[in-house]
């Protein structure tokens, strides 16, 4: 009797966890364009009280794990030629004139309001676990908690998605202290190879001092060879 009880509990928990993972995977499907790797332009327009600037980089994602990514700066010209390798939670930086890459910490690659993680860690399910789901009418409220030692940028995220489609609508990103750091509004979606993918989002400071508009453009199945996703090889990227 007791054995059956444990089995029932186990199956119930497994079912809940599995379904929660499935929920997150449905959300990720709007960001993971091709499991075998792909590339896109990450274009950002940043606006604050004191300045307005634009950046563009080409992001190459190695595979569906999103553990490996290479970002090549395209604009502005003063940053053109910089390369960032994301090797799981580690960042390597190579600039013009440098012969070997140096390691940087994950806060050193700022791209306007977008952090390195915002750009390259595009899969929620790799870095966060779903702790609760609440139905709020037309939307679902998903509470995500960072998976320890995965290198997640935020400690927790409250993500609002459309009921049924799981299309992301809005996210609140929190620090470990519970302080709200950023708001992300998912504003644009497009069709790539028959699938609906995220193409626009607005990232804003919690205090509203600066707003960054991000466009994800020129999705392509073009990818860099796997060998380039290694610290020893990024200086050879053509």
């Amino acid at each position: 009797m007791k054995k059956n009880y444990y089995i029932t509990i186990f199956l119930l928990l497994t079912n809940i966890l599995f379904s929660q993972d499935q929920d997150l995977l449905k959300v990720d499907s709007y960001r993971m364009v091709e499991p075998s790797g792909f590339s896109f332009d990450f274009h950002l327009e940043e606006e604050s009280k004191t300045k307005k600037s634009e950046y563009t980089m080409r992001v190459y994602v190695k595979d569906n794990s999103s553990n490996y990514a290479i970002c090549k700066y395209l604009k502005p010209d003063k940053m053109k030629g910089r390369v960032i390798l994301v090797d799981r939670k580690n960042f390597w930086y190579l600039d013009r004139g440098m012969k070997t890459p140096i390691r940087i910490n994950s806060r050193q690659m700022l791209f306007g309001q977008a952090s390195a993680g915002d750009i390259t860690r595009i899969i929620f399910s790799d870095y966060y676990s779903l702790t609760s789901t609440t139905n709020e009418g037309e939307q679902l409220r998903l509470e995500l908690k960072s998976i320890p030692k995965k290198g997640a940028v935020y400690s927790s995220i409250v993500l609002y998605v459309e009921s049924g489609t799981y299309k992301p609508v809005f996210a609140e990103c929190y620090a470990k202290s519970g302080k709200l750091l950023k708001n992300i509004e998912y504003t644009g979606f497009g069709i790539y190879k028959g699938n609906e993918v995220l193409t626009e989002m607005i990232i804003s400071d919690a205090d509203g001092r600066s707003v960054s508009r991000v466009s994800l453009l020129n999705f392509s199945s073009d990818k860099l060879d796997d060998r380039y996703f290694n610290k020893s090889q990024i200086s050879r990227i053509p």
Binding site: S53, R96, R103, K231, S232, R236
Partner: protein, 413 residues
């Protein structure tokens, strides 16, 4: 001779193919550097002005044009699993920054499964000594002349793991007539290896080579919390560099020691979440560093040199640490500390600031402030001011105060 012709044909082939293939060309050209003046006529390298340097040297010496990088990578994908390519000016011996060699590299890469295997044939040319003479030679001349030698390098790459072995025939690197003329000793051929990967979140790298003597280096780094990176380099070798005056310049030579010595560097890199600034603190202990009397001897030697172009003996030889590009230590000192801060984004979109403070024993303090202003996106103006606070009695620095301007124009396709 046959090798030379084959390489020449291959080079021409790749150059012509590059029109159709992916081409990356990167030029960083400093068109005006080394504009400097001396505040003190009794400048450290020139006490009593025996070199007759004018107190306010307002010349704009073109000879000090520096930092010309021309990195070309031509690659041709034969099919999805085979690549051919040629790289010019690849920095070969990564761990010993002061042992720079130019490598014109021809590589063949093949994949099996998720791994890649490279076989590299390269032509090496020395950077020091005879290398200076050869800098003005053309690309093809450098590829085919007698100074350069073939080397073989094999590499295995799988995800984050990298392993390479290489053989470099340094023994005949410098021709006999040159070694006799300049009293240089020949190097030995080198068999070396390098490997790097991660142990969990802990990055490690191990390098080494053997040429009758040995050199081993270990490098570690880990981002223990978000924004805080710890890193360290440890090296053991039974050779050390000694200086010698050759003609009107200074050359360096490796000398064997009876006992190996250790060189250890430890660094912290921190970026607060509320600032677009990074801070570095590094310290280094060099067991083979110069003592007070040795430092004085070295200083005396330098005073005998009347041509010091591009020679900054105090801080000129960058340490081979993981952040060597940022913090060139005083490699001659026993113990060094460096504190460095820089804005890693342009402040207000137009100004980048770096400040570095060194303290070396038995050298003294130096502070360097650099401002960088980009113009028209691909033109940068750099201005830096170096100030040495306290030299003590060791007069081996070129400047006490220096002010430098440079303009960088960059073309990048």
């Amino acid at each position: 001779m046959l090798f030379k012709r084959i390489l020449l044909i291959i080079s021409i082939f790749f150059l012509s193919m590059s029109i159709f293939c992916e081409l990356s060309s990167n030029v960083d050209l400093t068109v005006g550097g080394g504009y400097s003046f001396y505040r003190d006529i009794d400048s450290p390298i020139n006490p009593g002005n025996i070199l007759e340097i004018e107190e306010w040297d307002l010349k704009f010496p073109l000879r000090n044009i520096t930092n010309l990088y021309w990195d070309n990578i031509f690659s041709l994908t034969l099919n999805h699993e085979m690549y051919l390519g040629i790289i010019e000016d690849f920095h070969f011996v990564q761990y010993t920054n002061y042992q720079l060699f130019k490598l014109n590299e021809l590589y063949i890469s093949s994949s099996f499964g998720t791994s890649f295997f490279n076989i590299v044939l390269g032509k090496l040319a020395p950077e020091f000594g005879v290398g200076y003479i050869r800098k003005s030679q053309s690309y093809f001349k450098r590829l085919t002349d007698d100074y350069s030698k073939w080397m073989v390098n094999t590499q295995l790459i799988k995800d984050s793991f990298f392993l390479e072995f290489y053989y470099a025939p340094f023994r005949d690197f410098i021709p006999d007539d040159y070694t006799k003329k300049e009293s240089l000793e020949k190097c030995n051929d080198i068999i070396g290896f390098s490997s790097n990967s991660y142990l969990g979140d802990f990055y490690w790298q191990i390098v080494g080579f053997y040429d009758e003597d040995f050199f081993t280096g270990l490098s570690f780094s880990s981002e223990i919390i978000v924004g805080l990176l710890l890193y360290s380099d440890i090296t053991f070798t039974n050779k050390h560099w000694i200086d010698r005056i050759i003609g009107d310049g200074l050359d360096l030579k490796l000398e064997k020691l009876e006992k190996p010595y250790m060189d250890i560097m430890f660094g912290i890199n921190y970026t607060p979440s509320f600032l677009n600034w990074s801070f570095y603190f590094e310290t280094r202990y060099n067991q083979d560093g110069l003592t007070t009397s040795e430092m004085s001897d070295f200083s005396d030697k330098l005073l005998k040199i009347d041509n010091l172009n591009n020679l900054y003996p105090g801080f000129g030889l960058p340490f081979y640490g993981s952040l060597a590009d940022r913090l060139p230590f005083n490699s001659l000192s026993l113990l060094s500390f460096a504190l460095h801060s820089e804005s890693f984004d342009y402040i207000k979109g137009f100004l980048k600031i770096k400040n570095t403070t060194f303290f070396s024993i038995p050298a003294g303090f130096m502070n360097q402030l650099t401002l960088e202003i980009p113009l028209f996106d691909n033109i940068k103006i750099n201005g830096s001011w170096s100030h040495i606070t306290d030299l003590g009695e060791y007069k081996y620095f070129l400047y006490r105060d220096s002010l430098k301007f440079s303009i960088k124009y960059n073309i990048y396709k």
